[in-house]
C-alpha cells in the first residue's frame, strides 16, 4: 500500500486533535469549570498554560475549556459514529444480501429517513429528551444518521452478493448469517471504515449545531457549548476573539481533517475493491433502485465527499 501525501497530512491533523483531546486535559491542570479570572480576560493576563487563551464569559480558562471540549466532542462523535455505523451496517448488509421483499422494506425505510432532513429529527428528539447528557445526545445523533451508511453498504453488499465465492459458500451449506459475516462483510470493511470516519465528523458537527441551538449537553463543556456561550454573552461584539476563534478553528480543523482522512483512505482502499467501470455505474447513472435522489454535492452529506474521492481517484488512475 502506498500512502499519499494527503493521507499523511490528514492523519497528522487527526493525531494532533486526538492528542489534544486525550492528553490535553491531563496536562493543563486547570479545571474548566472554575474561574481563574474575570469576564474575558485577555490571553496572557493569567500565568501558565491555562491562561494562554484568556478567559471566557465566566472567567474560566478558554484553553482548558477547549481541551476538555474537544474531548467531549470527539467522544460524542465516536459514540454517535459507532451507533450510526452499526445500525447502517446491519440494515445495509441484510438489505443488500437478502434482496427481495426484505430489501424493499428496509431500503424504503432508509430512503424515507434520508429524505427527511436529519437536523429536524435530531431537534425533535433532543427537545423531547428528559435530560441531555453526552450519551443521550450521541445516541440521538447516531440513530438519526445511519441511513446513508445503510444505503452505501447496501450498494456494496448487492455487488458482492453475486460473486462466485458466495455461491460456493452457499453450496457448501453455510447459513445466511455465517455467509453474511464471513463472506460478505470482509469485502465491505474498508468501506465501512470510511463511512465511519465521515459519521464521526458529521456527528461532531451536529453536536455543535445542537449545542448552539441550546440543545447541548448540560454540565459539561463541548466545542458547541463554547460557541453557544460565546454567542450568548456577546464575545464577538466586544471583540473577545480568544473566546470564539479557538473553538471555531478547532471545529473546522476536526471536520476538515476527518474529511481529508476519508478521501485519502478511499484512495488507499479502493483500487483493490472497485474498478473504474463499477464506480461509474454507481455515480453517474441515476440509481434506479433508490426511491429518492442520490446524495451528491452537499456539505451536509458526506457521502458526496466519498463519491468525489472515488471519482477523483478514477481520474488519477486514468492519467498518471
Amino acid at each position: 500500500m502506498r500512502f499519499s501525501v494527503r493521507f499523511y497530512v490528514a492523519a497528522g491533523l487527526v493525531v494532533l486533535v486526538l492528542l489534544a483531546a486525550l492528553l490535553g486535559p491531563f496536562l493543563i491542570g486547570v479545571d474548566p469549570n472554575t474561574s481563574i479570572g474575570g469576564l474575558y480576560d485577555k490571553p496572557g493576563v493569567h500565568p501558565g498554560f491555562g491562561g494562554i487563551l484568556g478567559t471566557d464569559n465566566e472567567g474560566q480558562s478558554v484553553m482548558s475549556n477547549l481541551l476538555y471540549g474537544t474531548r467531549t466532542s470527539l467522544l460524542v462523535g465516536l459514540i454517535a459514529g459507532i451507533v450510526a455505523s452499526a445500525i447502517g451496517l446491519v440494515i445495509g448488509l441484510i438489505a443488500g444480501y437478502a434482496g427481495g421483499l426484505v430489501e424493499e422494506i428496509l431500503m424504503g425505510l432508509t430512503n424515507i429517513m434520508l429524505a427527511i432532513p436529519s437536523i429536524v429529527i435530531v431537534i425533535l428528539l433532543s427537545v423531547s429528551l428528559p435530560q441531555r447528557n453526552i450519551f443521550t445526545l450521541a445516541l440521538v445523533i447516531g440513530i438519526t444518521s445511519w441511513p446513508w451508511t445503510a444505503r452505501a453498504v447496501r450498494a456494496q453488499a448487492t455487488s458482492v452478493r453475486t460473486r462466485e465465492h458466495i455461491e460456493v459458500a452457499k453450496m457448501s451449506g453455510a447459513n445466511f448469517w455465517s455467509i453474511l459475516v464471513w463472506d460478505v462483510l470482509p469485502y465491505l470493511l474498508s468501506y465501512v471504515v470510511m463511512a465511519f470516519v465521515l459519521q464521526v465528523a458529521s456527528a461532531i458537527l451536529t453536536e455543535s449545531s445542537l449545542s448552539m441551538l441550546g440543545l447541548g449537553p448540560s454540565n459539561i463543556v463541548s466545542i458547541g457549548m463554547m460557541l453557544n456561550w460565546a454567542l450568548a454573552w456577546g464575545s464577538i461584539r466586544v471583540g473577545a476573539w480568544w473566546a470564539f476563534i479557538p473553538p471555531t478553528l478547532m471545529l473546522t480543523l476536526i471536520a476538515f481533517s476527518l474529511f481529508l482522512l476519508q478521501s485519502s483512505l478511499d484512495e488507499l482502499f479502493n483500487p483493490r475493491l472497485r474498478r473504474g467501470k463499477k464506480v461509474k455505474a454507481g455515480v453517474v447513472t441515476p440509481d434506479q433502485d433508490d426511491e429518492f435522489l442520490p446524495e451528491a454535492g452537499s456539505a451536509a452529506g458526506p457521502a458526496a465527499l466519498m463519491e468525489a474521492a472515488v471519482v477523483d481517484r478514477t481520474r488519477e488512475e486514468a492519467r498518471p
Binding site: 461509474k280 447513472t285 492519467r319 498518471p320
Partner: protein, 353 residues
C-alpha cells in the same frame, strides 16, 4: 495490381508510467493494408493490439505517447512523434475509429441525430442541419438500418443496433481507413454477423477503403478478414492470409493461439490460450531475442539472443528462427507446448484471481 492504402512504418508507442518509466506497448511495428482489404489483428490481451489501434486511429492520448514511425494513409503522410500534432480533422475523415458500442461510446443524454450533425459540422461541412440528417438517413437506408434510430437516445437502441449506428457515424465522413477495435465483442452471434456483413457492404459501396479489425475472436477473424496479423508482446510476429494462418501458421505463437480453446468471452486469458502456460512478458522489460522464447517449446539458443527477422514480404511474413530453418515443415502443437511443465503455473492462477 491493388493499390496500397496504409503504410505504417516502424511505429513505436509507449505508456508513461507514474514512476517515470516508459512501457513500449507497440515496438517498431509496420503494418500495410491494401485498398478494399480487411486486415485482422489478434493476440492475447495486453499484446498491444488496442494500443496499435489507438495510434493508427490517431487517438493516442496521455499516458500513451506515439514515439516514432511514419503513417501514409492514401497519400496523406504523417510523422509520428511525441510532440507532433495530429491535424484534428484527419480524425474521422482520413482515419476513423469504430469502438465497442456496448461501452458508453455515445453520450447518454444526446440523441443520435445530434451527434450526426455535430460530427459533420466539426469537419466544416457546408450542409444544413437537415441535409446532414438526410445524408445519414440515406446511408442508413442503403445499409438496411431503420432511420428512426436517428431520433433515439442511445439507451433506446439494442446492443446490435447501437453498434451498427456507431458504425454509420464513424464512417459518415467517408474515412479512408477504419480502425475497428473489438466492435463485436459484446454482441450476440447474429448481431456479430450483421455487423460483419455491414462492414463488407460498406467496403463494397466504397464508403471506406480499408479496415483494420482488432479482436480476440479468432473464428470471426477468419471469416471477416483477408489477412490476419498476430501480435505478441508489442510486436507483430506473423502476418498471413486468413486461410494460411489457420492452416499453415509459420510462427509457434500463432499455432498455439489458434490451438487454444476459442472461448467467446473475454478476460479468460487462461482459457483462451490454454496450452501455453505463462503469461505474456512484461513490456516494461521484454525478453531478449525472440520475445516468445521463454514460453516456446521450439526455442533454440539463437532465439534467446537474436531477434528474428521477418521472413516473407511486407504483406505476409513470420518472425521465427525455427520456421526459417525449417521452411517446409509444419509447426506441431505438441512441440510448441513442450515446455509447459517447466513453466510455473501460478502465473495463470494469479491472472484469474
Amino acid at each position: 495490381m491493388t493499390k496500397r492504402l496504409l503504410e505504417a512504418k516502424q511505429v513505436t508507442a509507449a505508456y508513461h508510467t507514474p514512476d517515470g518509466r516508459e512501457v513500449r506497448a507497440v515496438d517498431n511495428v509496420s503494418v500495410f493494408v491494401n485498398e478494399g482489404e480487411i486486415l485482422g489483428c489478434a493476440g492475447e490481451s495486453g499484446c498491444g493490439k488496442s494500443t496499435l489501434g489507438n495510434v493508427l486511429a490517431l487517438t493516442a492520448r496521455p499516458p500513451l505517447y506515439p514515439i516514432s514511425g511514419t503513417l501514409n494513409i492514401d497519400g496523406q503522410v504523417l510523422e509520428l512523434g511525441q510532440n507532433n500534432k495530429v491535424p484534428r480533422t484527419w480524425r474521422g475523415s482520413v482515419v476513423s475509429m469504430l469502438p465497442q458500442g456496448a461501452l458508453n461510446s455515445l453520450s447518454p443524454t444526446a440523441k443520435i441525430r445530434g451527434l450526426v450533425v455535430d460530427v459533420l459540422k466539426s469537419h466544416g461541412t457546408k450542409l444544413s442541419k437537415d441535409e446532414c440528417l438526410d445524408l445519414a438517413r440515406d446511408r442508413m437506408k442503403n445499409l438496411g438500418l431503420p432511420t428512426r434510430a436517428l431520433d433515439s437516445y442511445p439507451h433506446q437502441l439494442s446492443g446490435g443496433m447501437k453498434q451498427r449506428v456507431i458504425t454509420v457515424i464513424s464512417t459518415l465522413l467517408n474515412p479512408r481507413l477504419l480502425i475497428a477495435d473489438e466492435p463485436t465483442s459484446a454482441l450476440d452471434v447474429s448481431s456479430q454477423r450483421a455487423l460483419v456483413e455491414m462492414l463488407r457492404e460498406m467496403l463494397n459501396q466504397d464508403i471506406m477503403k480499408g479496415v483494420i479489425f482488432i479482436t480476440h475472436d479468432l473464428p470471426l477473424l477468419k471469416t471477416i478478414s483477408d489477412r490476419v496479423a498476430i501480435m505478441y508482446a508489442g510486436q507483430i510476429v506473423e502476418v498471413a492470409n486468413s486461410e494460411d494462418i489457420a492452416e499453415r501458421p509459420r510462427h509457434p505463437y500463432s499455432k498455439a493461439l489458434l490451438n487454444a480453446v476459442l472461448a467467446p468471452e473475454e478476460d479468460t486469458l487462461a482459457k483462451r490460450v490454454e496450452g501455453i502456460k505463462g503469461s505474456p512478458p512484461s513490456l516494461a522489460k521484454p525478453p531478449s531475442g525472440c520475445r516468445f522464447h521463454p514460453r516456446c517449446g521450439l526455442a533454440m539458443d539463437i532465439c534467446t539472443q537474436v531477434m528474428p527477422r521477418a521472413q516473407g514480404n511486407e504483406l505476409q511474413f513470420a518472425k521465427c528462427h525455427w520456421s526459417q530453418q525449417h521452411p517446409h515443415e509444419p509447426i506441431r502443437i505438441e512441440d510448441v507446448l513442450r515446455r509447459n511443465d517447466e513453466i510455473e503455473a501460478p502465473v495463470l492462477i494469479k491472472k484469474e484471481a
